[in-house]
Amino acid sequence: MPAEGGTTDDHLVIADRTFASRLIIGTGKFSSGEAMRDALDASGTEMVTVALRRVDLDATGGPDILTFLDRDRCLLLPNTSGAMNAEEAVRLARLARAMELPTWIKLEVTPDPRYLLPDPVETLKAAETLVSEGFTVLPYINADPVLAKRLEEAGCATVMPLGAWIGSNLGVRTRDAIRIIVEQATIPVVVDAGLGAPSHAAEAMELGVDAVLVNTAIAVARDPAGMAAAFAGAVRAGREAFRAGLAPARSDAEASSPLTGFLDPMAPVG
């Protein structure tokens, strides 16, 4: 929501937690743990999502992505990627809790391993279970306004509609549906997936979404840290533009002389 009354504070609030950064970053696809860490530093992000399937769940040590994350600065958001149904997603969330990871869960139920599109039926089922078990649930969904409302009613902390499918870098292809989701939402809306360039992130923020999540576009850039900083700037710019109130776009020229001048009694006739 836009801040009111001229306050300069414009923080993102999800559940009971406040974030100064509106850029959330995913941790897959980086060329090294060091490259990932540098990108996270450059982005100023305060929330980072990690695939639970890539973490040693029995905590017996070994090569592990968690060693590269500064958990004092960033909230670690475990995600359930790889889960094919509600049962598996719930299982993963419980494992994360058993490992004393945060009880915030980015809920991903993606039975199709190619486009990684979310299953709406299983996502809603899993969300209901996880909310009832006390998790803070951030579900990844297709840009479906009705599903977004259903998840809000189920007690989710955000909804995370996709801009385009994961890894596609196509931008905000779901723009019109995201507009409706933003218009109707009483919880933060985060555009997740498909943002391939800082301009895409700015476009999403200008639509009034509360935050964006980016992974591939940063991870596979020639200079991931430079790209992370560029996304951070674009997210800020898009947010400020939204708060400042964008002038409506116009495609036609305005008529130069009035069409209704004849209604003015003082106007000379002829």
């Binding site: 897959g28 639970l52 399937r53 973490v55 299982r91 494992l95 391993p113 991870a219």
Partner: protein, 382 residues
């Protein structure tokens, strides 16, 4: 409908012949199409001698697709040979029945010790392999091995003899995440020449094994042909690509991967019928990626170290390291006979460093059987 029905109707020989005569314009057309729109003829054009002259273009296009889909990462796995006992006579294989080699089948306890060694080296994904012996390494043995190893390693795949759908279902329930079946050769005549005895003689039963495994719920399905067994090798490459695409459509929940192994020297003394050069293999990796943008492409340590490292950016997503092909080889190297000679003998740490130097991060763990909603390997606390 199984893949054997589709393959019978597919113009594999015609496409391979088309490849030999493909023009520069055919290659340009194949390159210009979107990945999802490329058809069998485009794949053949990408495999053609005409495309070989433009391998740098192929490699760049392949790299772009791979990077977008998989990022700068490579998944690492290790083969774990459980047994070299075999009742099948494959005339090219070092485990074939009748060869006078040191035979060995690991006990479950021995297999667990091997897995523990591999875990210490960093591995979190093992491919379990056996020869084809219905009694010694039957479904019960594999179930036991899967359940025991699942307590040590979070992701297990199998490359063993083929099974019926119900048997695959049992293996999936015991914790088998992926099933790899090399058809060896997709040419029915060549297949008959090589497989002289044993259950493996049944070409169609093997060809449709991955359909059965897919119906049984295996999450990962791997195809491959042993390049060099059949001349012309492009026919096998084309059939392999068609197999992967057919499985992708039918089993939309499963991940499909393709291997492109070249036949290696073994105790069998076999000489390949067709020679697939390094350049051919690099071209095949690119063509597979351009035809199958989301498929895993597997490169084992059959290939030489420097060649393997150079191939990775072209589209490889899965690789092995420090491999032993003899049962018990990680704890007692050399006591039993291996299936073939490993070419890249670097340690996993060395391979990982070489990949890092090329800008690739090794993904050791990408899955956890505890996620899987089966009875296997679930910790008691959940």
């Amino acid at each position: 409908m199984n893949f054997s029905d589709e393959l019978r109707a597919a113009p594999v020989r015609e496409a391979a012949a088309f490849a030999l005569g493909a023009t520069d314009a055919d290659v340009s057309r194949a390159l210009s199409r979107a990945a999802g729109d490329r058809d069998l003829w485009d794949f053949a054009a990408l495999l053609s001698p005409a495309a070989s002259a433009r391998i740098e273009e192929l490699a760049r296009a392949s790299r772009r697709l791979t990077e977008r889909r998989f990022g700068n990462t490579v998944h690492m796995y290790a083969p774990l040979y459980l047994s070299n006992e075999c009742l099948t006579t494959c005339t090219y294989c070092g485990f074939a029945k009748g060869l006078d080699i040191a035979r060995k089948t690991l006990s479950i306890a021995e297999a667990v010790r091997e897995a523990q060694v591999l875990r210490e080296r960093g591995f979190r994904h093992l491919l379990l392999l056996t020869g084809e012996h219905q009694k010694i390494t039957g479904v019960e043995y594999l179930e036991q091995a899967l359940r025991a190893l699942g307590r040590v390693i979070p992701q297990l795949s199998i490359e063993v003899q083929v099974w019926a759908e119900d048997e695959y279902r049992r293996l999936v329930a015991a914790g088998c995440d992926g099933v790899v079946v090399y058809q060896e050769t997709y040419d029915p005549d060549a297949y008959a020449d090589y497989h002289l005895a044993g259950k493996k003689r049944d070409y169609t039963w093997r060809l449709d094994a991955l359909d059965r495994a897919g119906r049984a719920g295996a999450r990962r399905l791997g195809v491959g042909a042993l390049l060099g067994l059949h001349d012309p090798w492009r026919e096998d490459a084309i059939a392999t690509a068609l197999h992967a695409r057919a499985l992708t459509k039918r089993f939309w929940r499963s991940e499909i991967s393709v291997s492109a192994p070249r036949i290696r020297p073994s105790a069998s003394g076999y000489t390949p019928r067709a020679i697939v050069s390094d350049r051919d293999l690099a071209q095949l990796v690119c063509a597979l990626r351009l035809f199958l943008p989301d498929a895993g492409i597997v490169m084992s340590s059959r290939e030489a170290a420097s060649f393997r490292d150079a191939l990775v950016p072209l589209g490889i997503t899965h690789t092995s390291a420090g491999s032993h092909t003899e049962p018990g080889g990680y704890t007692h190297p050399g006591e039993a006979e291996g299936q073939f000679e490993v070419n890249d003998t670097r340690t996993p740490a060395e391979v990982s460093q070489a990949l890092a130097a090329r800008g690739f991060d090794v993904v050791w763990k990408d899955w956890d059987a505890t996620m899987h909603a089966t009875d296997a390997a679930a910790p008691a606390s959940v």
